[in-house]
Every structure is written in C-alpha cells, then in structure tokens.
C-alpha cells in the first residue's frame, strides 16, 4: 500500500482538480481531503457519509464573572493579550488554552472548556472510500485533524486491501501540510508558471527534502507562460526532481467542476489526456519504489 500526497505551496494551482481525476484513474484508491480549512474534493467526488466523528481541539479559558474578584492576575500573566482589563473576559479567538490563568487565579474563577473544533467523516464515493473533514472557521489544531483522517484512511486501506491512498494536501508549508506529508511514499507537487508558482514550489521542495520524501512535479496551466515553464524545469532539474508533465490551461477544468465531476470523467480533451499521462508516470514511479 502506497501513500501519495499532492501539494503545491501556492494555493489555486489545481491540486484538488488533479486529485479528483487521479481518484477516477486509479483502481479504487482511498481518498483523503486534508485541506480541512477549505475542503473542496467532495464537490467533485460526491461522497456518501457513512460515519461522522466530532473533533476536539484544545481548550479555551472562560472566566466566571460571579466568582471573579477583579484582582487582574489573569490579565497580567496572559502572554497572548487574550484577557481584557476590567471587566475581565477571555477573548476566545486569542486564547491559546495554555491554562496559566486557570492555574494562577487566586479564587479559581477561571475554567477550561474543551473546544469542539470540527467534524470528520468516513464516506464512500464511486471512486473509493473517502475521509474528509471540516475544521470550524477560526479554529486551530488543523494538523491534528489532518493526522486523524490520515490515520483512518490508512486503517481502511489496510483492512480492505486498497493499494493506494491519495492525499489532497492544503496550501502553504505549515502544520497541516507537514501533517499531510509525514510518512508518505511520494509527493506530487503541482505548480503553475508564475513567479509565485515557482517561488512557492521551491519552498515545498525544501519541505519534502526536510522530511526526506520523494518529490515529483507537474506544471499546470503550462501554456500561459512557456518561458517560466522553462525556468521551473531548470530549477527543478538542479534538484534532480522529475517533471512528470505539463497540463494545459483548459476551460474543461471549470466546466467539470460546475458539473460536479472529475475532469477525466467529464471530458476527453487536452487536459484529460495530459492528466492521464501524469497518472501513468506516477503509477510507474510508485511501483518502482522498493518496499
């Protein structure tokens, strides 16, 4: 069983669009949508939810105003400027749940409240089982939620003999991305030919090197700027990272999205053909990796 994560650094390069098509091309993979902040894969794969789970993040401090003696110790010790001066109130957005005010309040007027931070789902789709989640807006601990759904995906894959787990990664290089990358067999990096695409690609390549993960690149919307495509190939070639293919800008991408389908299911135009080409290479390289 292999795990493949699709990331990009920069948002909007086409990760989810590509993952949906890979789901259709692979043989019943297990899908995991790790962009828990802004999950979109379900819009193309139409999962049927089989099980729902609550996700608890950390805790937040709450001051009981009846018990509060207004001594102000809490506001004095809070490192996150989360406690307003008299009347003393904790701003839940700024509170990091460190518990220092709880521990130090002389009259124990501050309580810790566990946060229901999101939900995650085990679902089935026409293309394979899917784990996905929603982190409630404004929450933290996205990395932990990512780890949770990844863990379940691996369990399901092992229990039912699925050969591949495909992870739709989030943008950026921070904790949810790291959580989506650890322990996978390969990372497919989607970029676009723009200065931001190249800049952020180099950042995620640093990240895959840092975690010692085999990296491969695909260049999306390649026909928009051929000279930048050449620069990307050059930069990536210096790092001995292969470019698996170039995907053309194709209105079929949005048309398929509007129809709620993967591109390769909805069309057989130039983008669908190019995606198929990338998939063949991915499959070959995953198969080549020694166990």
């Amino acid at each position: 069983m292999k795990q493949l994560t699709i990331i990009s650094g920069k948002g909007g390069t086409g990760k989810t669009t590509l993952v949906a098509s890979l789901a259709a091309l692979a043989q019943q993979p297990v899908l995991v949508d790790c962009d828990v902040d802004a999950a979109d894969l379900h819009l193309l794969l139409r999962p049927q939810v089989k099980q729902k789970h609550d996700f608890f993040g950390g805790s937040k401090a709450v001051i009981d105003s009846d018990e509060c003696t207004r001594c102000g110790v809490c506001a004095g010790v809070c490192r996150y400027r989360a406690i307003s001066p008299d009347p003393f109130r904790v701003d839940p957005v700024l509170c990091e749940g460190c518990g220092v005010c709880v521990d130090l309040c002389p009259v124990q007027a501050i309580h810790e409240r566990e946060q229901l931070a999101g939900r995650w789902y085990e679902s089935s789709t026409a293309f394979g089982p899917m784990m996905h989640a929603e982190l409630f807006p404004g929450q933290d601990n996205s990395g932990k939620l990512v780890a949770e759904i990844r863990k379940r995906a691996v369990e399901v894959a092992a229990a039912n003999d699925h050969e591949l787990v495909i992870v739709d990664g989030p943008p950026g290089v921070g904790c949810p991305v790291i959580s989506a990358l650890t322990g996978v067999d390969a990372a497919l990096l989607i970029t676009e030919p723009s200065p931001s695409g190249l800049h952020d690609l180099e950042r995620v390549l640093e990240l895959t090197r840092h975690f010692d993960i085999q990296a491969m690149v695909a260049i999306n919307k390649a026909d928009l700027a051929p000279d930048l495509v050449a620069r990307i190939r050059q930069a990536v070639g210096k790092l001995a990272v292969p470019v698996l293919g170039e995907l053309p800008y194709d209105t079929a991408a949005v048309a398929a999205m509007v129809a709620g389908q993967p591109v390769v299911t909805h069309s057989n135009g130039p983008l669908a053909t190019a995606i198929d080409g990338v998939w063949r290479q991915v499959r070959r390289r995953l198969g080549d990796r020694a166990e």
Binding site: V100, D103, P137, P171, G172, V173, G174, R203, M257
Partner: protein, 285 residues
C-alpha cells in the same frame, strides 16, 4: 486603517488585488504580506529591503542542578512539551507555546526561557509604498507568531493593505483579527463559492466589517453573485477573466494596468472601503 485581503480558497487573487491596491494608493500606503508560509507580494512589488530581522519564539530550559524532578512543570504544561524522567527533563521546543506556565510554577525556580528562531521579518519600500513581509523557516509548523510579528510592524495610523494567507483557520485569524475592514476575494466557481462561504463564517465570527471582490468573472457561473445577494454581502468590485491579467501576473508585474478594467475595479473597491469603516474616501496622492 488596516484593510486585510483574505479568501477561503487559495489562488483567487488576494495578492493580485492587494498589490494592485497598494500600487494604486501609492505614496504613503503600506503593503504587509501576512502569508508568511508562501509570501508572494515581493515578487510583484520588488521592494528594496532595508532591514531583515530574525523573529524568535520562546521555549524553556531546565537547570538540572536546581531541578528536583518533582514533575510539576510536566503536569501544568497543556501542550505536553515537557517530559520529566527520573534523571532528566526533556523539552520539546516545537510543542512549546511560550506561555510561561512552567517558569511561573516550578517550585525551585529552575526553569528559564530562551528564544529560538522561526523565520524572518523584512522591511523595505518601493515607489513610496512601505513594505513589510515575513518568511517562515521551512519545517516550522506554526505561522501565527510570525504573522503577528508582521502585524506588529504596522499601525492603524497608516493605510495598510494586509495580504492574508488562504484558508479559514488560525493563520488567517492571526492576519485578519482586529483589522478595520476585510476584503474577501473569491471566484465564481463551485470551489470559490464553497470556500467563500466558509471565509464569510470566519470573518463574521471575528466581527470585522467586510465586503467581496469577485475575480475572474466569466469563468464559472453566477452562484457566487446569488449567494452574496442572499447573504446581504456587498460586492465591492468585479474583475473580469482576462488572459492579459494572467499574463501580466505570470511576468511578475502588478496587474493594475494590465487591462483598463482592473484599474477601474481597484478604484471602485477603494472608493467603497473607507466609507465602510467611517473614514474619509480620499486617496493619498
């Protein structure tokens, strides 16, 4: 006045709008790049950077001579960043949130704070526009402390255009919290609409007044427009889908003058914003 530019979905055009707005405002404005994981503003504005500073976050060290291995620090740490063993105390720097709890509560006063670097803050300028940016060290998990460091470099006395990261969770909150106004940039596609609705929930939670800019109008359908109508969200400007804008972007140019419609849209956006926060609508010369 701090105007943040956010979105739910990545790639909708935050940096396009933010850099265009900063260029439009010109002399006296400040552009702040809060997307410290994937900073892009500098690629288009080309600021002359005059200062680069390492930003540090706290972690702790235990004096093993003073320590009695009582375990109190491990007990109070909500982040499990300290493990107390019979002959050693281990600190896990990457889990430490710098709350100071263990320092305050160690009965032997054996714990002290030290700093470790997580990234850099850059300060510069271009064409009269002040530039502030941050860059998280690759491998660091937590971006909010560095985003707050970028925020600390600007004040409400300036006109600040703050480019936020994509998403709806703690990094965006760190960028957008207590800004005076937030512009949510979206695109008229199913992904755009879905993530926009999540961003709207987030911004309403934060209580920051906001409006929408719809970018790349023409590529999808009109469900985003219908959603804004239903929710009473003001559409401050619309930018058409035009290959020339994408090409300017791909060349590393601020797309403000790629097509006339872009400048018109930015002007319309800026016309609306200050009025929505009770400020004056004048554009600095």
């Amino acid at each position: 006045m701090i105007v943040s530019i956010a979105s739910g979905k990545g790639g909708t055009g935050k940096t396009t709008v933010a850099t265009s707005l900063a260029r439009y405002l010109g002399n006296g404005a400040t552009y702040a790049d809060g997307d410290v994981e994937a900073p892009n503003g500098h690629l288009f504005l080309h600021p002359v950077v005059t200062e680069t500073r390492e930003h540090h976050v706290p972690t702790v060290r235990v004096d093993h001579d003073a320590c009695t291995f009582c375990g109190k620090c491990s007990e109070v740490c909500r982040f499990h960043a300290i493990a107390v063993l019979p002959k050693a105390v281990l600190v896990f720097d990457e889990l430490c949130h710098g709350c100071g709890g263990c320092v305050l509560q160690c009965p032997e006063k054996a714990i002290s704070e030290v700093e470790r670097p997580i990234g850099t803050v850059e300060i510069g300028a271009i064409g009269g526009v002040r530039f502030v940016g941050g860059r998280l060290n690759v491998g660091e998990a937590m971006s909010p402390p560095l985003i707050r460091a970028v925020r600390d470099e600007v004040t409400g006395d300036e006109t600040v255009i703050l480019d936020a990261p994509p998403g709806t969770s703690c990094p965006v909150v760190a960028a957008v919290h207590r800004s005076d106004f937030c512009v949510l940039v979206t695109e008229p596609t199913p992904f755009g609409l879905h993530d926009f609705s999540l961003a709207v929930k987030m911004i309403r939670l934060l209580g920051v007044p906001f409006g929408a800019v719809i970018n790349r109008v023409g590529i999808g359908d009109d469900r985003v427009h219908a959603y804004c109508e239903r929710e009473g969200i003001e559409i401050l400007a619309e930018i058409p889908d035009d290959r020339r804008i994408a090409e300017a972007y791909a060349r590393g140019e601020v797309p403000l003058d790629a097509v006339p419609e872009m400048r018109a849209a930015i002007a319309r956006l800026w016309d609306a914003v200050p009025a929505r926060v009770g400020g004056s609508a004048e554009r600095r010369p």
